[in-house]
């Protein structure tokens, strides 16, 4: 039978199957962070259990950690307790490796997994975090889980789950100059909707996806969850293997050759069938800007804020009206008339070296507009930060008036001090524009790193390709 990549990944991890089709799935890699793990470790302790395979656990503190004044520690006592709880749990129960607060390789869990080679092709990768879908870029089966499931994986190395339906998102052709993986995935979500992928595992394929770097593929898979899919993935190819080669936890020597031979088979068979297929033309994708409170509320930068009155479906019309009220926007406003107060370049969607290079290329030799109160660049990890500094990107950003910070989740979800004040409008490279996501009352517009940098320079949204 011709099998999809998803079939291959899923089937090769099934330990047993219940009579109703529920599978017991073996988990290779378990990523752990401070927010969704304390209750799981507590459950483990109360039941007198031990982690099944400590070498599967890779942990870091990222959600709560501050991005400046690291010498002063974590000032918020509740955040500090959470991070210290993770420290204590890792001390007690162990891990393959832990990148604690202040470690020079600490960073966002979905950035450090791939960059250390802890995420490898063919693996099942889980984390108590929905954006675990990011790791699917490596032809891995990667998905977010809840805290009870974190405990389940710790205790049994397995998860109970049913196989999802399969979806192919094929993007043919080439992205135009200045149009990025982020624009592509926003355009995909704009078309299929935030529930479009519900119940599915998405494989992104086609020439435009093949042409993406690993960073770009991670950006696309990262937002598969925003299309409602638990998992997104891309088949393995030379780009995948070149990225993994030489990473600290990647196989070496004879193991490397064996691994590569296996990984080459991590593709959907020719003619394999999918439950659902969507086809996109890459050349038609423009730089995207979200205007509302859901990632599907998105238009090209030369578009306008929609008019709810033109929606026939009542739930949708109400949703649009509520979103516009929250966002403080009027129907039919051109996107390029919307001014921004803050700019955030970071998050597990867009904080890798390539993202920072793209933003720096726009910022170079320019100045952040005077109406922009804060333009923040938060590298995804200590390793990304060091790389960017070695290329002088920090100096480019600083000279333009951006702040250059320590790594972490930061203003993606504003659990630390980096946040929007009520009513503030932000161009953000993160993945969620939900109400209050970046701070209560804050207004988020999702864009690519280049578009965020362009918004910082112009003080409003502009097509980065037309920035004078």
């Amino acid at each position: 039978m011709r099998r999809t990549l998803y079939d291959k990944l899923f089937d090769s991890h099934v330990v047993r199957t219940e009579s109703d089709g529920t599978a017991l799935l073996y988990i290779d890699r378990h990523l752990v962070h401070e927010v969704t793990s304390p209750q799981a470790y507590e459950g483990l302790k109360l039941a007198g259990r031990r982690p099944w395979r400590v070498s599967s656990v890779v942990a870091t503190a990222d959600h709560n950690t501050p991005t400046k004044d690291w010498d002063q520690g974590i000032r918020d006592p509740i955040s500090r307790t959470q991070v210290e709880t993770l420290d204590a749990n890792i001390r007690t129960y162990g891990a393959k490796v832990y990148f604690p607060f202040l470690d020079k390789r600490q960073g966002i869990v979905h950035v450090i997994g791939p960059e250390t080679g802890a995420t490898l092709p063919g693996m099942t990768v889980v984390c108590g975090d929905s954006h675990t879908s990011t790791h699917g870029a490596f032809a891995a089966l990667a998905f977010g889980i809840g805290t009870s499931e974190v405990e389940h994986v710790l205790a049994t190395q397995c998860l109970l789950m049913k196989k999802a339906k399969s979806m192919l998102v094929r993007v043919d052709g080439r992205l135009a100059q200045g149009v990025t993986a982020k624009d592509l995935v926003l355009a995909i979500i704009g078309r299929i909707g935030t529930a479009g992928g519900t119940g599915h595992a998405i494989e992104f394929a086609g020439s435009a996806v093949r042409a993406l770097s690993m960073e770009g593929r991670m950006t696309v898979c990262n937002m598969a969850i925003e299309a409602g899919a638990r998992a997104g993935m891309v088949a393995a190819d030379d780009t995948t293997i070149d990225y993994v080669r030489g990473r600290p936890y990647a196989p070496r020597g004879a193991d490397w050759d064996r691994a590569v031979a296996l990984w080459c088979g991590l593709v959907s068979d020719e003619g394999a069938t999918f439950d659902t297929t969507h086809v996109f033309d890459a050349a038609a994708v423009q730089p995207q800007v979200t205007w509302g409170t859901s990632p599907e509320m998105v238009v090209p930068v030369d578009g306008r804020v929609p008019d709810p009155d033109r929606e026939r479906d009542t739930t949708r019309r109400d949703g649009y009206a509520k979103a516009l009220a929250y966002m403080g926007l009027k129907p039919n406003t051109p996107i390029t008339d919307i001014a921004v107060d803050k700019v955030f370049i970071g998050s597990c969607t867009n904080s890798r070296i390539e993202d920072l290079r793209a933003a720096a290329a726009v910022a170079r030799g320019r100045k952040v507009a005077s109406n922009v109160r804060l333009a923040l660049v938060v590298p995804g990890s200590g390793t990304v930060k060091a790389q960017a500094e070695s290329e002088g990107l920090d100096r480019v950003f600083r000279a333009a008036g951006f702040e250059w910070r320590e790594p972490g989740c930061s203003m993606c979800l504003a659990m630390n001090d980096d946040r929007l004040e009520p009513g503030e409008r932000c161009a953000s490279t993160s993945n969620r524009n939900f109400e209050g996501r970046q701070g209560a009352g804050g207004r988020t517009h999702l864009v690519s790193p280049a578009m965020a940098a362009a918004a910082a320079i112009a003080g409003r949204f502009v097509d980065v390709r037309r920035l004078s």
Partner: protein, 212 residues
């Protein structure tokens, strides 16, 4: 886990699609290292007029009288009626913890986000899927009749009004149904297969030693 068999309760309607878990429980409450105590902050940004932070005395905070949970007719509700794609976004299990802690035992909606749906079952909260038109009828009835309540019978897989004027069947996976009916700890169940897991693992790690 608290078993779920038969439950009758007042229905509260949240009439918007794509309600995300950030709305169900805002991130500042995720700093807790406990599983309980999230109920007072369920839908915090919609429910109160001020900005909520952990450690506040929620009883003293100004409530938003326009939000459904604060309206007298819905006080004590234990069944939440919602629109499509309820629970999208973050994987935070704090969302079902907050719903359960508030006293919600069952949800009725046309669809849910996958991770949230899963998380509900782990916490004794039953997410019921009904068709769009059935859900719309329930919204109409909830608005028309103060105190409108429903009875959920998991064994028979039905949700119905007391007088039987409306009754809908729903689907649930047999394994999940069993766990919920009996309040089973699924870690314990999985560990019954420890030998099989060990054998699988030994084979896998021998073939691909780099995984360990």
């Amino acid at each position: 886990m608290q078993p779920f068999r038969l439950h009758t309760g007042v229905v509260v309607p949240i009439d918007r699609a794509n309600v995300d878990t950030d709305a169900i429980i805002p991130k500042q409450f995720l700093k807790s290292i406990k599983r309980s105590g999230f109920g007072p902050n369920l839908f915090d940004e919609w429910r109160y007029l001020d900005h909520g932070e952990p450690g506040m005395d929620n009883a003293k905070r100004p409530e938003n009288p326009d939000f459904v949970l604060n309206q007298p007719r819905y006080r004590g509700a234990s069944i939440l009626l919602a629109r499509a794609n309820f629970g999208c976004g973050s994987s935070r299990e704090h969302a079902p913890w907050a719903l359960a802690d508030y006293g919600i035992r069952a949800l009725v909606a046309p669809s849910y986000a996958d991770i949230f749906f899963n998380n509900c079952f782990k916490n004794g909260v039953l997410p019921i899927v009904l068709g769009d038109s059935e859900v719309s009828r329930l919204f109409d009835a909830t608005l028309a009749f103060p105190g409108f309540s429903l009875t959920v019978d998991l064994e028979r897989q039905t949700v119905a009004t007391r007088d039987g004027s409306m009754s809908f069947g729903f689907a649930v996976e047999p394994f999940r149904k069993k766990c919920l009916l009996e309040g089973l700890d699924d870690i314990g169940l999985t560990l019954l297969h420890a030998d099989q897991i060990r054998a699988f693992e030994a084979r896998r790690l021998a073939e691909q030693p780099w995984i360990a």
